[in-house]
Symmetry: C2
Subunit: 277 residues, 2 copies
């Protein structure tokens, strides 16, 4: 009864085990916090060696599905995949297909109005308090370029705060991701490093109107304000992007991230363990 799987390229034992574990989780209805059988048990039950089992567990861990602890009472535990982890994984998809500023705002423009509509009437005093606290970071012109950049990031955090209250998990993640993209987008970081009084001023105004609408529980008005806000921001950002492209057209060396272990691949490795018996 060995289904030959016509075009299948002979799946690795590790993959099969990983899928078996996933199925097991679904089948048993395991929920976050539950523990998987221990390594030795899996070895016996699946007839695979420790190495293979561990590779499978590593694959699940990379997907954020489990995390492991050592010691008694340790083992592999089901985890609720975090939004951060999911967006990190999403980032891999876009690594070789980087969205442009335009692409990102095209999505924000569609989704964030719906987002605020969905949370109108759901915010409590604490939520409004948090929003206003963030807005305080940019209710005044920045004194330095450093503050300029901080203000831009805080403006984006304002939007992330809104997402927190969205009852629609799908809409929430889809709103969150473009915002995170902007926070780390190279072009944005360049744009954010230049003075841009208009962007701050108009953004702040819109957000005040938005809060007013949300306080009234007026979903439609909130939605309209956000739509305008997004359109204005898109226009300003794209205009700014074009300006920057013209002004310096050379590829500035990317902000050098601190050198890490991979440097060993090029020669020098902090002699950790010399495995010379």
């Amino acid at each position: 009864m060995s289904t030959p799987t016509p075009t299948a390229p002979r799946r690795k034992r590790t993959e099969v085990i990983a899928e078996a574990l996933k199925d097991y989780i679904a089948e048993q209805g395991l929920v976050p916090g539950d523990r998987l059988p221990q390594e030795q048990h899996l070895i016996d039950a699946l007839g695979a060696s420790k190495g293979t089992i561990r590779e499978a567990l590593r694959a699940l861990e990379a997907q954020g599905l489990i995390h492991t602890r050592t010691g008694p009472k340790g083992g592999a535990f089901i985890a609720e995949v975090s939004a951060d982890r999911s967006m990190e994984l999403l980032g891999n998809y876009f690594f070789f297909r980087p969205p442009t500023i335009h692409d990102i705002y095209e999505v924000r423009k569609q989704l964030e109005p719906a987002l605020v509509a969905s949370i109108a009437g759901l915010l409590d005093a604490e939520a409004f308090d948090g929003l206003e606290k963030v807005m305080a970071y940019y209710d005044h012109p920045p004194a330095t370029l450093e503050e300029e950049r901080t203000q831009r990031i805080k403006e984006l955090e304002f939007h992330l705060l809104l997402v927190e209250h969205c009852p629609n998990p799908l809409l929430a993640l889809m709103c969150r991701y473009p915002i995170r993209l902007l926070m780390s987008h190279t072009v944005c970081l360049r744009i954010y490093q230049h003075p841009y009084p208009e962007l701050r001023q108009r953004g702040h105004d819109y957000q005040q109107q938005l809060i007013a609408a949300l306080r009234d529980g007026d979903a439609d008005r909130a939605s309209r304000v956000m739509a305008e806000h997004m359109c204005a921001a898109q226009a300003l950002m794209e205009e700014r992007e074009a300006m920057l492209e013209k002004s310096f057209f050379k590829a500035a060396g990317a902000a050098s991230s601190p050198s890490r272990e991979y440097l060993a691949l090029q020669g020098h490795w902090p002699g950790k363990t010399t495995p010379t018996g």
Copy 2:
């Protein structure tokens, strides 16, 4: 020298290696198709054992970042993460936060009008041909319940075809995912198994109008048609969902996925609720 770093959970060697490899990929500017150093080289360069290296590679593979081949000229190759893989990983996030039909349509309603606007004028004869070929599956009332379900799936495929032509990768993925969700959503599958002449008829009409608008390269009209289409579909689906919920309120056994290895070993699995036996 009491507790070295109380908050640091002491990262596993495997994780460190996995990150090192990721950094290496970024630093070296490797692109899909490029090969990573072979196992033995990594073992030497990173001073880790074969098992550890392999676990790290497995983690990258689970993320869709690499795939490996055996034999001469084999090794670990950089892969372009596929949309399918990304959506699979996204599925993990929503596993414990399942969006409702309403949630899904709320997103589709916002995004798909923008989608068709973005592809107006970009479709060639072949593209229109493909769209009409799919529509042929449901240009007539279904004869059987089986055909009923097939027609619903084909309608969704129509939308997936549109996505293929979207130049905005972010928008494309975000349109694709809700559609895939509907294709596998348990509630949808229940809904799709019941006759629903109106849904088919109206959907087909809208799609014809949509194609006409796209042929004219009229982004605005295409967008409006899609918006109406989505609103109508949402209303019909939610109404239908409510009906079904009333009619039978028991959880029908989910369509069991094809038996995998673990089924053969099911006797060996421990029960879920075995508290520290």
